[in-house]
């Protein structure tokens, strides 16, 4: 059965009351009509009042997508997705939002509470009306937040403070209106619309996402952060993020994701493009906690994401750090194309699969410039019936004299029904380049658990502690506040994995 078909009837019954068919009455709409064709693309573009060039860009991408096949090479299994059987645009009506935390799904709040997210932020995350209007402070280092709910960016905080430094941080739909020249110059230059099946789909129907531009020589004074959240049923989320660090600019960006529990599978196909010019540095951290499905494997997000960075400038640096605990299926390879001489790419990853989760994730490091260096540290943790694949490509072009890569891939198994797989591809076309790969697989040993429990730790706390130790090299790359969040998340994700 098509993955999304099951619950569409339910959704229809929910939406039919307020939903008016037809393209003409667009203002009233919450959803674009079900299905995907040129009209859907036009609808989205019109809804966002986009300029003609962007509509053309989308339509071209759509035409490309129609000729493409879904990739079958990842080591993940799922029923065929019926792309005509989903909604591609969902703008939550204001009146539909919860009025206070009391109206929010208590399960969701419980999760936030476990994560230690302050109430104020919980309210923002849960889409409580008005909660995002004023940024929360409370003595901590401010974090500028853009929150994307389903298809629409709803809150961008600290905008004015950032504008003082000439920094642009806004929804990409807003950037299209306010800074069209920048968007036009960079959109699709790192991930071309025809790059792969999901990127093409995203290019055709992307609805929102964040846009960041850091001008020459500016070090962004605060963490920039986006929370993505899928609220509506049976909608895909196709956000698009574009970050440009001009010469000498430095920025750290964090992306957090959540979704409510539902017994259907929802598609999340994002594209993230990063551009680093001479001497620029971008640190992009992700804490991905999409709903993973229940213990029997029902529901959960399909997370099919294309993330790529171009280190265009000399001595530029991009660092990807990801903690992937959620999603039913993760298909994701944040990559660095190292064009500038002496540019640096890094990838630090923790991926957890528990219950029936599947993850096929890794990175690509493409060395083109001279003396380019890359570091890959991947920590895969499998529990329950989870399947975890690291897939990494290190390619050294003939031009990349003196290039260096170091890859370390460690897998940790909890229980005996899970699996870990490592698939490294190395293509070295330059004799002076040095590529190193190390891999280990281990289990949480009984004596480690007993040692911890003898010291008073519960079995779950013991597993959490050992797993966090295993991931330390990656977690220490995260900004402080998020490292704490990520540690708790790791533990929550593994609840019930032992005993």
């Amino acid at each position: 059965m098509p993955a999304v078909a099951e619950t569409l009837d339910t959704v229809q019954s929910v939406t039919e009351g307020t939903y008016k068919w037809g393209f003409e009455t667009e203002i009233e709409m919450d959803f674009a009509p079900k299905g995907l064709n040129e009209d859907t693309v036009r609808f989205i573009s019109a809804e966002k009042k986009e300029p003609e060039w962007l509509l053309e860009w989308r339509l071209k991408a759509f035409a490309t997508w129609q000729k493409m096949q879904e990739p079958r090479w990842p080591a993940v299994k799922y029923p065929p997705i019926d792309y005509q059987d989903a909604y591609y645009y969902a703008a939550p009506k204001k009146k539909d939002g919860p009025k206070s935390l009391d109206e929010v799904d208590p399960e969701l709040l419980k999760t936030y509470a476990k994560l230690g997210i302050p109430l104020k932020e919980q309210a923002i995350l849960a889409g409580v009306e008005g909660a995002g209007d004023s940024p929360s402070e409370g003595g901590r280092m401010p974090i500028a937040v853009d929150a994307v709910f389903d298809s629409v960016s709803v809150a961008t905080s600290y905008k004015e403070r950032l504008a003082k430094d000439g920094i642009i941080f806004c929804a990409i739909s807003e950037a299209v209106q306010e800074h069209p020249e920048l968007v036009k110059q960079y959109l699709g230059t790192v991930v071309p619309p025809g790059d792969n099946f999901y990127a093409a789909l995203n290019s055709a129907v992307f609805t929102d996402g964040s846009f960041v531009y850091i001008p020459k020589g500016v070090r962004c004074p605060m963490e920039l952060s986006t929370y993505f959240r899928i609220n509506a049923k049976s909608t895909g989320q196709f956000e698009r993020t574009l970050i440009i660090a001009d010469e000498g600019a430095i920025v750290s960006y964090l992306e957090g994701c959540t979704a409510p529990m539902r017994d259907e599978n929802q598609l999340h196909a994002a594209v993230v493009e990063l551009v680093a010019l001479d001497d620029a540095q971008i640190k992009y951290s992700t804490v991905q906690n999409w709903y993973p499905g229940d213990a029997e494997g029902r529901g959960g997000i399909y997370n099919f994401v294309t993330k790529r960075a171009q280190c265009r400038g000399k001595r530029s640096k991009v660092s990807w750090t990801q903690v992937e605990t959620g999603s039913a299926i993760t298909w994701k390879y944040p990559s660095c194309v190292l064009l500038g001489d002496d540019s640096v790419g890094e990838f630090y990853s923790v991926a957890i699969t528990n219950n029936h989760q599947q993850a096929d994730t890794g990175t690509k490091m493409i060395h083109v410039g001279k003396r380019t260096t890359s570091t890959i540290v991947s920590k895969g943790i499998s529990a329950g019936k989870g399947q975890n694949t690291y897939r990494g490509l290190v390619r050294v072009a003939p031009t990349a004299s003196g290039a260096r890569n170091f890859t370390q891939c460690d897998s940790l198994l909890i229980g005996d029904q899970c699996g870990a797989h490592t698939v490294p591809y190395i293509e070295n076309r330059n004799m002076s380049a040095k590529v190193e790969h190390e891999a280990t697989t281990s289990r949480i040993a009984e004596d480690q658990l007993f040692y911890c429990r003898q010291r008073g730790l519960s079995e779950e706390d013991a597993v959490g502690l050992i797993v966090n130790g295993f991931c330390r090299e990656v977690l220490k790359e995260l900004p402080m506040e998020f490292a704490v969040e990520a540690q708790k998340l790791l533990q929550i994700s593994l609840e019930g994995s032992v005993g």
Binding site: D447, F450, C452, R453, Q454, R455, E459, D461, L465, R472
Partner: protein, 248 residues
Amino acid sequence: MLRIEGLTAEVEGKPILKGIDLEVPAGEVHAIMGPNGSGKSTLSYVLAGREGYEVTGGSATLNGVDLLGMEPEERAAAGVFLAFQYPVELPGVGNANFLRTALNAIRRGKGESELDAMQFLKLARARLKELQMSEDMLKRGVNVGFSGGEKKRNEVLQMALLRPSLAILDETDSGLDIDALKIVADGVNALRAPDFSALVITHYQRLLDYIVPDKVHVLMQGRIVQTGGPELAKQLEASGYASVQAAA
């Protein structure tokens, strides 16, 4: 007080403990000696609740509380501490983090308030000083890259922080030079109190020069075959276990 009666246990279907009777009154320190393979570590694991060490009969109570029905962490909260013969490495887990997590878990179990990072650090520094251990110890991974002696001292540090009511030290002296041995002994002696008891498992008499036991028990082939005062340890040192066996 620890009271063990008729305790039998097996590992992988093989009987190891064959009826142990032992009482360690509160405030006393008892030594258990015996040749390799006699079941000393097995006894300590059974008391601490390790998986795979199957109790087939008898009882063990601490201050009247049945130990054998509890999970390992519940026994820890009830005051049982085991200094491991082979301390376990936890890669990437900071020693300070581990110690604080353990201490707070035990404090929670006792209904006491948890210590924050600063309070903990103050306490840990004081104990480190007493044990003549470097503060570096806190920053490193739990037992990772520790020398044999450092591992044993780390066990004693944990014991000093957790302040158990029953400490079982499983060959904590083996592999220690004489200075380290004295430090370990000082650590145990510092805990001596009317509500503290200890089982000191050792091969060698020399530890007992520094931790003078109230009683010495000889364990052989899963049974306690002889019990005496501190002089029994000296006698064993001189004439070996064979003499005990002959006498038993």
